[in-house]
């Protein structure tokens, strides 16, 4: 079985802070990681490979340094990695990213059985690229997958919903986005880690994918950022300090005054 896992390198957003004076993000020195949900997608792929054999390819679109994320994926057990990178792809929103990634999938020669994504990336939190790629590539899509079993002609997939779950049967090839609850992650393997360091990772750029130039990067992106700002600060607030018993007493008095308690 051939599985492709699409991963994204993201800044570790817990470590990003905001400068209240300039309204800018302090991004210097913030480490880059594999998007956590993509790690669960990779783990799902590796478990399917452990049980059914086959090959796991990781695919990532990003700047040259995204290669680091691909090497981490190789050290976890992925067999091959491909980086999609070109200045012309820069500035892409989810539409243009989905289009570009789908061209890379079409360029992979072995027939693909399953394409996995994390349910969303923690930097953009849009959850749009998985469904977008699935449509461009022309395969059925199931979002928020928690379990995936192999059947005779496809997969049986448990999809987490807002109130419970749905069970789907989907033919292959198919695409899934994977939730965190799907699995526990494995540790990198030392031998694979060494191999991953030396692995050849091909970079596919504009000339390799031969895209419609209108549909990539900034020009292919329908959405634009109009402005960026820090959230507003509440003005009529009361800050209490002092002895816990006194603070709480005052708070409760005020809450009762407002008739909310």
């Amino acid at each position: 079985m051939n599985i492709v896992v699409c991963i994204k390198q993201v800044p570790d957003s817990d470590k990003v802070t905001i400068d209240r004076e300039t309204n800018r993000l302090n991004r210097a020195g913030v480490p880059s990681i594999i998007n956590p949900f993509d790690e669960n997608a990779l783990e799902m792929a590796l478990q399917l490979k452990d049980n059914h054999g086959g090959k796991v390819t990781v695919l990532s679109m990003g700047p040259p340094q995204a290669e680091e994320a691909l090497r981490t994926a190789l050290s976890l057990g992925a067999d091959e990695a491909i980086l999609v990178s070109d200045r012309k792809f820069g500035g892409a929103d989810t539409w243009a990213t989905s289009y570009t990634l789908s061209l890379a999938l079409k360029k992979i020669e072995d027939p693909i059985d399953l394409i996995l994504f994390g349910k969303q990336a923690i930097d953009g939190d849009t959850a749009q690229v998985g469904p977008g790629v699935a449509h461009f590539y022309g395969v059925p899509m199931i979002t928020y997958a928690k379990e995936c079993e192999v059947t005779d002609d496809g997969f049986r997939v448990k999809q987490v919903t807002d109130r419970g779950y749905n069970l789907w049967e989907v033919e292959k090839p198919a695409a899934l986005t994977v939730v965190k609850e799907a699995n526990e992650l494995r540790m990198p393997n030392l031998r694979k880690k060494l191999a991953a360091k030396k692995a050849e990772i091909p970079t596919w750029g504009f000339d390799d994918l031969n895209p419609d130039e209108e549909k990539i990067g900034l020009s292919g992106s329908p959405t634009k950022v109009n402005k960026v700002f820090a959230p507003p600060i509440k003005l009529n607030k009361e800050i209490l300090s002092g002895e816990p018993a006194d603070m709480v007493k005052e708070l409760i008095f005020k809450l009762r005054e407002k008739k909310v308690l």
Partner: protein, 332 residues
């Protein structure tokens, strides 16, 4: 761009039951309609739409695009995407809003790709710029560390998803009227690539944060997983639910069902009490529409105090049990 001056709300339904978010979107859509002068419409794809029409009118839809087919009884992405895509292309609305549910977050990106439309996920605020005639879509960005307003200047429709509990629902009246436009979409040529074989609603151990009137949440500042005990005691005393920050869920201190924030649940209680939560924007995105916010934190500079109505600067390990004690005394 010769689009129709219409704002559509995607009326998500399953088995003839409309999702709650639909009413929230219609309520917010009315404000946008008023500001833009556009007509508020609902797109309803179902097996039998008529029983749902009155409620859609009551929340402000002036026009319902009604598509019926036995295949549309429950959600299946290929069918619903074909319906929405066909209508967007034939009717060309200016704006389309979807709930950011499992269903909305599957259909919306699919049809966005099909029509080269712009789509902004999980908006927390929508506004209309009357000068440029565009939708202003505001959402947390960069992992929820900052807010961004997204626009879609050159492509139509402008589409956005909004999570439940972000906007308040408000009925216009009990007997609003409007126009129903029946549209037929041929689904016979859609290949059956996936089939739903079971659908289960789980209620066991579900933390009902969305319905809770009082929520007491713990963040990294509680120090250790066992300290959620103190949070829980206060929540129980108030008859409320326990929430948690992403940091505590990621650390494995509490189940993800409790997570409040951009990647967790969006909540809208009467009172939200944030204990030891620093107040990352991704957390604020999930709770800032609470009627009243109380922050308990020993760091007076914690950003959570920026959004709080009441801030208690102190050690939560003392303040929270004291709070529980005084509420208990009040009830006695």
């Amino acid at each position: 761009m010769s689009t129709k001056k219409e704002i559509w709300v995607y009326a998500e339904q399953e088995n003839g039951k409309l999702a709650g978010t639909v009413f929230e979107l219609l309520s917010e859509g009315r404000k946008l309609a008023e500001k833009s002068g556009f007509t508020l419409c609902a797109l309803l794809a179902s097996a039998d739409g008529k029983p749902m029409h009155q409620e859609l009118f009551n929340y402000g839809a002036k026009k319902i695009y009604n598509v019926e087919d036995p295949k549309l009884v429950t959600y299946q992405n290929d069918y619903f995407a074909k319906v929405v895509d066909q209508l967007l292309k034939s009717e060309e609305p200016e704006i389309v809003l979807y709930g950011a549910s499992t269903i909305g977050r599957s259909i919306a990106p699919t049809v966005a790709v099909m029509g080269w439309a712009g789509l902004t996920a999980d908006c927390t605020e929508l506004d209309f710029d009357t000068e440029r005639n565009i939708l202003l879509q505001t959402r947390p960005a960069f992992g929820g560390n900052i807010m961004a307003t997204i626009i879609c200047p050159d492509h139509r429709p402008q589409m956005a998803t909004v999570r439940s509990n972000v906007f308040k629902k408000e009925r216009v009246s009990e007997n609003e009227t409007g126009e129903v436009i029946d549209v037929t979409v041929d689904l016979s040529d859609v290949p059956e690539r996936m089939k739903r074989i079971e659908s289960v609603e789980e209620e066991i151990n579900m933390v009902d944060l969305k319905a809770a009137e009082y929520i007491v949440s713990g963040g990294r500042g509680i120090g250790a997983p066992e300290n959620f005990d103190k949070i829980e005691k206060l929540a129980n005393m108030l008859g409320g639910a326990v929430g948690a920050s992403r940091a505590t869920v990621d650390a494995g201190w509490i189940s993800h069902h409790h997570q409040v924030g951009q990647t967790g649940k969006t909540v809208c209680p009467l009172i939200y009490i944030a204990c030891g939560i620093s107040g990352a924007i991704q957390h604020l995105a999930g709770m800032q529409s609470a009627d009243l916010i109380i922050a308990i934190n020993k760091d007076p500079d914690a950003p959570i105090f920026d959004v709080a109505d009441f801030g208690l600067v102190g050690d939560l390990h003392e303040v929270v049990p004291e709070f529980t004690k005084q509420i208990a005394a009040l009830k006695a």
